[in-house]
Every structure is written in structure tokens, then in C-alpha cells.
């Protein structure tokens, strides 16, 4: 509150991981064809994502510490889209988690106000909060896993698909499209304090490895525990949590709900803070709180329209995956690569001029 906190490699990784695990805890990519292909696709996607993260890492090493206004505009659009999806998704899926006991307007109002509070904070602070939520998520998933382990039947994992290779590729693409964490990496890396020990490459590798481990475990356990129900439920991890239990706490869906809600608010806060930063890059004189409101409120209003009219299902399952995939690739790799190319061109032009 008196000083500006630093965004460290750990905090950046925590924000990215927390966001991705939250998405996995909510629902799996639309159109997944089976647990085996989903798991294989996730691994393949991790390799592909590693390649996507290279330009941003190289740009950081070469002193890239600012996001240009043009890039900020593109990032802003993406972050607003993700906020729109997250707000609507949270309200929509909370119906299944609360069983219709709480009205959607109430859920929406509470979420937006809470996120507004967080969106006005520094990203470093949110990274710290994300780190704690991540630890809570890991603990919750471990507890849920332990409670469901004896019901897991690994024979439920199969690779039965009409076109296994195609299914794996489609799963990989869907997984990449869900990874706004990559865009966070590209956007936040310039303002992160990294060291030789925590270089951009190591940060990216650590993130990908952790993500792969967590997602594979979640997918494996969920599919092994739920069996054919895996294909029939909108919320696989929640279903697995409600199926698992212990002696003291009969069911762990309450635990899931607690950590899911906390993660949703922090994730939305992170996206809001990033969108706010984009606005402040575009308009440096903008006041922080106002910029956060300007970033968040239109997305909330936009999401409110379909979700309060009970039309959200067509939005969430009709997401233009190809477009989102392209957006992720462009914003993660394309923008930093373009900056690097621009710098290289300028250097060549200058050196030609000097020689002449």
C-alpha cells in the first residue's frame, strides 16, 4: 500500500497456472472425444505452447520492457473477451453448483463488484493472491483425488476414437485455445523481474511442466473415477469432487465450490488488471480505478445479456475455437515476433545507413 510490489517469476507463473487450472476445473474443452485423446492432446499442446512462448522470452532477453500501444489494443480486446466468457461462464455454471438456490443476478452482481475491487490492484499483488489460491487449489485437488482414488478404474481411460490422430490434434488445438495463460505470459513478461535463476525460458518451462502434470492428473483421475459419466456431465471435476468423500467430510463438492469461487474472482481480477493496464498504456492519463471499471463493466454488461436470459449455453459451447486459437497464437508469439522483426529491420537499416 505504500510501495509498489514486484511481479516475480513465481507470481507470474501462479497467475497463469491458477487461471488454467480454474478453466479445467470448470469444464473440459468442447467436443473432446475421450480421455485418452484429451490427455495425449494436452501433452502435445504443451510442446506446441513451448514454441509459442519463445519469441516473448527472446524479446525479454533483448531488453523488451514495454508493450506498444498497438499491441496493447489487441491485448485489450482479447482480455475483454476472456472476461466476458469468464463472467458469463461463472454465472452459468454456478447454477449447477448451487442447484438454482441463488439467483443469477445476485451471482453476477457479487462477482463483478468483487472483481472490480481486485482489478484496481497491482498485478504483482494479484500474483501473490493467485499463488495462495493456487496452493489452496492444489490442496483441494489432492484431497478430492485422495477421496476418489479408491473409486478410480483405470480401464475407463481409452483411446477409442474414429480418427485417433485427428482427435489428438483437435484436443491439442482446443487446449491451446483455452490457454489465455499464454497471452498473460506475453503481456506480463515485460514488467516481470526475472533473474538468471528465473529466466523467461525457465519460467515458461516450469509453467508448462506444472500445467501438464496437473492437467494430466485431473483428466486421468476424473475419467477413471467417472467412467461413462465423464461424457455426460458438464462439470467433470465437480462431479468427481461430489463423488469423492471421506470420513469426516462426506463429500468434497463443498470444498471444490469454495476454492472454485475464490479462484474465479482472483482470475477475473487478474484479467481486469491486465485490461486496465492496456487502457492505461493507451491513455496514460487515465485514473486507475476508472480504467479498471472501464475494462470490466462493459464485459459484465455484455455477459449479463445472454446469461440472464438463459442463452449462455450456446455461447459457451459455440465458442469460435479456431478464432480464439488464432488469437492466442498471434498474441503470444505473433506480437513479440513482430516486435523482434521490427527491431532487426531497424538495426539493419541503421547499419546500412552507417556503412553508406
Amino acid at each position: 500500500m505504500t510501495g509498489k510490489q514486484e511481479l516475480s517469476a513465481y507470481r507470474l507463473t501462479a497467475m497463469m497456472l491458477m487461471g488454467r487450472i480454474f478453466a479445467a476445473m470448470t469444464y473440459f474443452p468442447a467436443g473432446y472425444e475421450g480421455p485418452g485423446t484429451l490427455m495425449a492432446g494436452t501433452l502435445l499442446s504443451a510442446l506446441f505452447q513451448g514454441l509459442l512462448m519463445i519469441p516473448a522470452a527472446v524479446l525479454y532477453r533483448r531488453g523488451g520492457r514495454e508493450v506498444s500501444r498497438g499491441a496493447a489494443a489487441l491485448y485489450l480486446i482479447y482480455f475483454c473477451y476472456e472476461m466476458f466468457m469468464d463472467i458469463g461462464g461463472y454465472v452459468y455454471f454456478s447454477d449447477f453448483l448451487f442447484g438454482g438456490e441463488v439467483r443469477r443476478t445476485a451471482v453476477l452482481g457479487a462477482l463483478v463488484l468483487s472483481a472490480l475491487f481486485l482489478a484496481a490492484m497491482d498485478t504483482a499483488v494479484l500474483g501473490k493472491a493467485a499463488g495462495t489460491v493456487l496452493i489452496g487449489m492444489a490442496a483441494a485437488l489432492l484431497i478430492i483425488g485422495a477421496g476418489a482414488a479408491r473409486k478410480a478404474y483405470w480401464v475407463n481411460i481409452d483411446f477409442a476414437a474414429a480418427d485417433p490422430a485427428g482427435a489428438v490434434l483437435r484436443a491439442a488445438a482446443a487446449e491451446t485455445a483455452r490457454c489465455e495463460c499464454l497471452v498473460l505470459y506475453a503481456f506480463l513478461l515485460p514488467r516481470t523481474s526475472l533473474s538468471r535463476r528465473n529466466s523467461p525460458g525457465r519460467t515458461a518451462a516450469g509453467f508448462l511442466a506444472a500445467k501438464a502434470v496437473v492437467l494430466e492428473t485431473v483428466f486421468f483421475l476424473t475419467a477413471a473415477v467417472l467412467g461413462r459419466y465423464f461424457y455426460h456431465t458438464k462439470l467433470p471435476v465437480f462431479s468427481a469432487a461430489s463423488y469423492s468423500g471421506g470420513r469426516v467430510i462426506q463429500r468434497f463438492d463443498g470444498l471444490f465450490l469454495l476454492i472454485w469461487c475464490a479462484a474465479a474472482i482472483v482470475k477475473l481480477g487478474v484479467l481486469g488488471a491486465c485490461a486496465r493496464d492496456c487502457i492505461m498504456i493507451l491513455r496514460p492519463s487515465a485514473e486507475r480505478n476508472r480504467a479498471a471499471a472501464l475494462a470490466l463493466l462493459p464485459c459484465a454488461v455484455g455477459a449479463a445479456v445472454p446469461v440472464l436470459r438463459y442463452r449462455w449455453e450456446s455461447v459457451v459451447y459455440g465458442e469460435p475455437a479456431a478464432l480464439v486459437f488464432a488469437a492466442v497464437v498471434i498474441l503470444t508469439a505473433g506480437v513479440p515476433a513482430a516486435v523482434l522483426a521490427g527491431r532487426a529491420l531497424r538495426r539493419r537499416t541503421v547499419s546500412k545507413g552507417v556503412r553508406a
Binding site: 445476485a106 480401464v155 485417433p164 467412467g227 461430489s242 463423488y243 462426506q250 486507475r288
Partner: protein, 380 residues
């Protein structure tokens, strides 16, 4: 200085915003519905019977205001009541029940769902829609069939020590853990929806001699009567307890079981433990073969302590189990097309390409397949 003041003002605004967020959340959510616990009627068990074109639903509901309701569950007095209601669907019947009870029905601790023998299970998704869509109902709620009507089972008051639902629930859970009956739960309805088959425990009610009955229920007992095999919504086969144990063992997911064997003209029983199962699917002579290998330990009576007796017992148990399994596979899969052993899931896991080819007609593949059961018995 002014910039610092503005910064502080901005920070204070954020604090007020947080307070406002909490208050608004509090205010908004109060417009939702939160239930005091005593506003809920806790349903312990549920029975569903066919009633002409509609359904008859029987519910065992906890009575906190009844005798024994003031502190802990009174072990001397019954504190449940049985309510019966009707409707075209289960949901409709439950709405009637809720209106009768005067409270919101709460299924969070539903111990058991019992289906009447005559119930049409052709569309399990529709039948269990009330349960699958209700986040309160535990996905692991056991589902069983009644040898008779489910209402009879619901009305049994087995003993003063516990509610009937707990007794039946414990009976089934114990039966599952001992390998006597298959483990069929709400979560397995999805698989039934796809395959059209199910195998579930069967309960039978027997009345006390005086045949007394009341709103709280009739005296009597409930016992496991074996396994009911369902295909395309109809009960096609009742397996007696011995057949039931064999089928549960064949499914490969039980850790314990029991069997009988003959030695020297005498019949003994053996407890089977440390059961491990491995399966593989391969093609032999152009025909797909599913081989399931069982490795288990048989605990025989203590008087059979000699090496010869042990070997003879192991051989008899092995032969008997292999023969029973083969017969069960022949009858249930080849003849009736009911895959209650999870064989198609195994094929999907071990030979995905084969499974994909027969995705639309799995029973065709299963009838085509050969089955080999290899049992290795270690006598203790």
C-alpha cells in the same frame, strides 16, 4: 502532497468498494433461497414402482419432531415416516410429496434408490433425471431392485437400532464389498443409457409373523436376494446369490468374494481375498478373444491343513470358477447380449480400434468374441 492525498483517496475508495461488494453480495444473495435446516425434509431412501402409465414413489423421510427426534437419533423409537405419492414422472411425484410434506425435500443424504421389479427402465435418463440434475444427490447413491415392489422394501422397519434406510444401505454396501452383489450407483446410469444393460443388487422383504404395519413402516427384514440383470428396460434374469458372486468376480472390480468347493465328497466354503485381475484382448484365428486372468487367495477352513488338501481345494475352486464364468459369459453375453461385466469397456481400453468399429452395435462384437477365464488360486 496532493498526489499522495489523491492516491490515498483512491485507496480508500477501493476499501469502500470492497465493503460495498460484500454488502451487495450479502443483500443480493438474500434474495435467493437459503434454507434453514429444519425447513428441509430429509429423504433417506426412495422406492420407485410402476403404477399403470405412471409411477408410484415411496419415500422414507426423517421425522425430527417425532419420538426420538429431540436430540440424537433415538435408538428405541422410529423417527422416519414413509410417504407414497404418484405422478407421470418421478419429478411430478416428488412435487406432490413435497407439497404433502410441507417442506423442501432434501436428497443430500439419500442412502438408497430401490426400483420395483416391474418398473420400465427403457429410458433411464428420463427416469433418473430428477437425481442427475439435483446437485444434492450423491452420485454414489446405490441403486437396487426389489424382488417385488419397492414400496414393500420402503415400508420395512428392520430393527429399532437404526433406520431402515441405513440398514438397507449398509446391507448393500456390505454386499458390494464382499463381492456378493454388483456395485451399481447413480453414476452408472450413464453407462446404462449407452449400453441398455445394468446389473444391480436385488432386495427381498420378509414380514414379521404378526404382519403389523403403520405409517412408520411394517416390522420385518430385508435380505439380499441376488442380482437383477436388466436389458433394454426389462428385468431379463434374476441371478441367485451364487451366480451373483460369480458375475461380480468376472467384472473384475471386487477385492473379496466367496465360493464353495467340494473335497472328499464334502462341501466347504472358501473366502476369496487378494483378488487381482488382468485382461487382454487379442485376435486368435481371426476371432477376437478377451482373456481375463484372475489371481486370488482362497482361505479355506482350518481343518484342511495338508498340502494335498490345499492343492485339491485350489484345483476344485479353479475349475469351478472357470466353468461358472464360462457359463455366465455364454448365457448373459452370447445368449442375452447383456454385458454386465464391463467387457466392452475393456475392449475400448485394450483394443480401441476394434471398439470403434463396433461402437454402434457392441453386442455384436461381444457375441462374436471368445472368452477365456484363467483363475490362479493360492490356498491359505
Amino acid at each position: 502532497m496532493i498526489r499522495e492525498l489523491n492516491k490515498n483517496a483512491a485507496k480508500k475508495l477501493r476499501v469502500y468498494l470492497m465493503a460495498a461488494a460484500v454488502l451487495v453480495m450479502v443483500g443480493f444473495t438474500h434474495w435467493g433461497r437459503s434454507h434453514n435446516i429444519d425447513d428441509r425434509a430429509m429423504v433417506h431412501a426412495m422406492g420407485i414402482d410402476q403404477d399403470g402409465d405412471g409411477l408410484r414413489v415411496s419415500l422414507q423421510i426423517f421425522k425430527p419432531d417425532g419420538p426420538g427426534g429431540d436430540t440424537a437419533i433415538d435408538t428405541a423409537q422410529p423417527n422416519v415416516r414413509v410417504m407414497t405419492c404418484r405422478g407421470r414422472t418421478v419429478g411430478e411425484a416428488l412435487q406432490e410429496a413435497g407439497a404433502k410434506a410441507g417442506r423442501e425435500l432434501f436428497f443430500g443424504h439419500l442412502q438408497l434408490i430401490c426400483l420395483g421389479e416391474e418398473l420400465d427402465l427403457e429410458d433411464p435418463e428420463e427416469l433418473f433425471a430428477f437425481a442427475v440434475k439435483d446437485k444434492n444427490i450423491f452420485l454414489g447413491t446405490p441403486i437396487c431392485t426389489a424382488d417385488g415392489t419397492a414400496e414393500e422394501i420402503m415400508r420395512v422397519r428392520s430393527s429399532p437400532e437404526e433406520t431402515a434406510a441405513e440398514a438397507m444401505g449398509d446391507l448393500i454396501e456390505n454386499g458390494i464389498s464382499e463381492g456378493q452383489v454388483p456395485d451399481y450407483r447413480l453414476i452408472d446410469v450413464a453407462a446404462t443409457e449407452e449400453s441398455g444393460t445394468a446389473a444391480m443388487a436385488m432386495l427381498r422383504a420378509s414380514e414379521e409373523e404378526n404382519g403389523s404395519s403403520s405409517e412408520e413402516g411394517q416390522g420385518g427384514s430385508v435380505e439380499l436376494a441376488g442380482t437383477a440383470v436388466i436389458r433394454e428396460g426389462r428385468l431379463v434374469k434374476k441371478l441367485d446369490p451364487e451366480q451373483s458372486r460369480t458375475c461380480v468376480l468376472m467384472a473384475g472390480r471386487t477385492e473379496r468374494s466367496s465360493t464353495a468347493f467340494t473335497l472328499g465328497g464334502r462341501r466347504y466354503s472358501a473366502r476369496l481375498t487378494d483378488i487381482s485381475v488382468s485382461s487382454r484382448v487379442y485376435i486368435s484365428a481371426g476371432r477376437p478373444v478377451l482373456e481375463r486372468r484372475f489371481s486370488l487367495t482362497a482361505r479355506v477352513p482350518a481343518d484342511l491343513h495338508s498340502a494335498e488338501d490345499s492343492a485339491a481345494a485350489a484345483a476344485d475352486i479353479r475349475d469351478r470358477l472357470e466353468a461358472d464364468m464360462a457359463a455366465a459369459a455364454e448365457e448373459l453375453i452370447v445368449d442375452r447380449g447383456t454385458d454386465i461385466f464391463g467387457f466392452f469397456t475393456q475392449v475400448r481400453h485394450s483394443a480401441p480400434a476394434l471398439a470403434v468399429r463396433y461402437e454402434q452395435s457392441p453386442e455384436k462384437l461381444l457375441r462374436l468374441m471368445q472368452y477365456r477365464f484363467i483363475v490362479e488360486v493360492d490356498v491359505e
